[in-house]
């Protein structure tokens, strides 16, 4: 899961990034309203965690701006302000969830996964694709009921392809889900992760659409391999 974290407080942001990475999330952080408004024009993400009190503006203005621009990705407001009218205003401005500081890390991650799941049109916490089962909230993957160990970026790549449901994703979209704003990524890093995923889960899992990108392959047969 690729998370955009909009949080001006360094202490809270560093704790959140560390905690979310433990849950196999790829996190990009910005600290001002201006950076937040620009972030979604630069890369794609699955979900946004938005703080309201930003030094150069209000998070709600950023949210309204995104919604006006047509960004419909799930947004979770994370704030220390607990007045009912503030919560109501936040939800009315287009937020999908509202969590108060301080929070339980596991609960926050569960809420983020629920938001992404609903945005992808799924109702179950597990994604099944033939013999492949993936539980995004814990980062667990099973193939033919055998647990498969994936790195954080491999898992993020797999989750992105599964949520796309066969839709072709460009290389840039996939890189965004892996590295976000990290411009220093090597050009063949994506190919390396795809290679590892194919090796661990089968060549048919990811189909290359030449000149366009990649998409999820047909479901792997649920029967155990011979």
């Amino acid at each position: 899961m690729h998370v955009l974290l909009v949080e001006d407080d360094d202490l809270v942001a560093s704790g959140l990034i560390a905690g979310l990475e433990l849950h196999h999330c790829v996190v990009d952080r910005v600290g001002t309203a201006r950076q937040a408004q620009a972030a979604l024009d630069q890369f794609e993400c699955d979900v946004v965690i938005l703080d309201l009190g930003l030094p150069d503006g209000n998070g709600l203005q950023v949210l309204s701006h995104w919604r006006q621009q047509g960004h419909d990705l799930p947004v979770l407001i994370l704030t220390a302000r607990d007045a009912v009218h503030e919560r109501v205003t936040g939800l009315e401005c287009g937020a999908d969830d509202y969590v108060l500081k301080p929070f339980e890390l596991d609960e926050l991650v569960a809420r983020l996964h629920a938001l992404v799941r609903r945005a992808a049109g799924r109702s179950l916490p597990e994604i099944s694709h033939g013999a492949l089962r993936v539980r995004p909230s814990t980062g667990e993957v099973w193939l033919h009921r055998n647990a498969v160990s994936l790195s954080r970026r491999e898992f993020a790549l797999l989750e992105k392809l599964l949520n796309a449901r066969g839709r072709v994703l460009t290389e840039d979209q996939l890189k965004d889900s892996l590295y976000g704003m990290d411009a220093g990524v090597e050009s063949n890093a994506l190919n390396v992760h795809i290679y590892h995923l194919r090796r661990k889960l089968g060549k048919e899992l990811i189909i290359t659409e030449r000149g366009v990108g990649y998409r999820l392959g047909s479901p792997v047969s649920s029967e155990s391999p011979s």
Partner: protein, 435 residues
């Protein structure tokens, strides 16, 4: 007892008592006047008879030896003409003889049988002329006259009372409206009271009430903002601590060490917020204020800048050893540091923050003016200029402390948007007499 009942009782009773007193006096006066008028009529009748005799005395001399009896047209009246020797020359019929025998000259009252009579006797040459009215008729006449007076009087009294009741009802209607409005409203409702066409006398009350409501509304809003800011400033480091500790529990080695260090930074921040809150509480209660009421700006600014994150962005101007402020050095340093932290946080990371100090001699006493100026953000997302009470202005507790310090030491804190899109915070404090 309600005001309306009190007014109705006092005015109504006074009204009735006054009218009854007037009625009593009128009754007495009228009775005397009627009696006097009837007496005058009696005397006039006797005089008229005397005039007739004087014109034609020969007709009386030619009268027969027996008295001439005449029948009056009205009952209860009598008349007698008597000669000097006691012979009755003329008399009305149907009158008891004892009524008119040996009459006294002038007015007199005589009881005959069951009836009482009023007599008037006049001497005319050699004749005594007596006229008489029966008192029963006179009393009936008096009663009729008084009755004629009483009916309109009573109607006027009842009408007056009704008008009084209506006037009081109508006059007190705005008060009743105010009473209903205040009784109907919820305790949490602090909206202004609105009356339909309030009288001039009620305008100060309604105005005072509405001013009070407005002050309470502002105070409640300020308290809510402050509570919200305080909650924000406690919860933010608490969130950092909690998240880093959760991470520390799940990782090992350097990552665990780093998470614990971050949690430690959070604890230090939390401690600072707590200290600030306690300081604010002490300042608001006026306790523990330092006795030393003068501080040199040079040392105070050095103290404010010491260890300040972003110190390199602060440009100080106008520091003068002669500038002495009539406030304790420690508190002044806290105030300046809070303003600088606020300016550093709410402006571009690389932009300068100006701190200038100036002595203004135009006021009495002289004041020291501290200006903290930031340049805001290149693209300003916020449109409303912040105020000390506005959360977008930054550190809620910090600015609240600066405001409290300013008010405790007879100074002011003001904020305005400057031409660079940032904020100018001006702290004015009196210069110390020594300075």
């Amino acid at each position: 007892m309600s005001l309306r009942q009190r007014l109705l009782a006092s005015l109504g009773l006074s009204f009735v008592a006054l009218w009854l007193l007037v009625a009593g006096l009128m009754y007495l006066h009228l009775e005397q006047q009627v009696s006097r008028t009837l007496d005058q009529r009696l005397a006039a009748s006797a005089t008229m008879v005397a005039g007739l005799i004087a014109r034609q005395p020969e007709r009386l001399l030619a009268s027969p030896p027996s008295p001439l009896l005449v029948t009056p047209q009205l009952e209860g009246v009598a008349c007698q003409i008597r000669a000097e020797n006691g012979d009755i020359i003329l008399q009305t019929s149907g009158v008891d003889n004892s009524l008119l025998t040996r009459p006294e000259l002038g007015f007199s009252t005589r009881q005959v049988g069951d009836s009482s009579w009023r007599l008037y006797t006049l001497r005319q040459h050699n004749h005594l002329i007596t006229t008489a009215d029966r008192m029963t008729e006179r009393d009936n006449l008096t009663r009729s006259i008084i009755l004629v007076m009483v009916v309109p009087f009573a109607l006027a009294l009842v009408g007056g009372l009704l008008v009084l009741w209506w006037g009081i009802q109508r006059g007190l209607k705005p008060l009743q409206e105010l009473d209903t409005e205040l009784n109907r409203r919820q305790p949490s409702n602090l909206e202004p009271v609105t009356l339909h066409q309030p009288p001039v006398e009620l305008a100060p009350i309604v105005g005072t009430l509405n001013n009070l409501f407005a002050r309470v509304r502002r105070a409640v809003a300020r308290e809510q903002r402050f509570a919200s800011n305080a909650a924000h400033e406690f919860r933010t480091p608490l969130t950092g601590i909690k998240t880093h500790l959760e991470v520390a529990r799940r990782v090992t080695g350097d990552r665990q060490q780093h998470a614990l260090e971050q949690a430690g930074i959070g604890v230090a921040r939390l401690q600072r917020v707590t200290d600030q809150l306690l300081m604010l509480a002490r300042l608001e209660q006026g306790r523990d204020l330092e006795q030393e009421q003068s501080s040199a700006t040079t040392t105070t600014i050095a103290e404010a800048l010491e260890g300040l994150a972003g110190r390199e962005r602060v440009e100080v101007q106008g520091v003068n050893a002669d500038c002495q402020v009539a406030a304790p050095a420690t508190l002044l340093a806290v105030a300046l540091r809070n303003l600088l932290e606020n300016a550093l946080k709410y402006s571009e990371p690389e932009s300068p923050v100006l701190l200038s100090i100036e002595r203004t001699a135009t006021t009495t006493p002289a004041q020291i003016r501290f200006l903290v100026r930031d340049q805001g953000w290149t693209t300003d997302a916020s449109s409303e200029p912040p105020s000390p009470a506005n959360e977008t202005g930054g550190h809620g507790l910090g600015l609240a402390i600066v405001e409290t310090i300013a008010s405790q030491f007879h100074g002011t804190l003001t904020a305005s948007r400057n031409r660079w899109g940032g904020m100018d915070w001006v702290l004015l404090l009196p210069a110390s007499i020594a300075g």
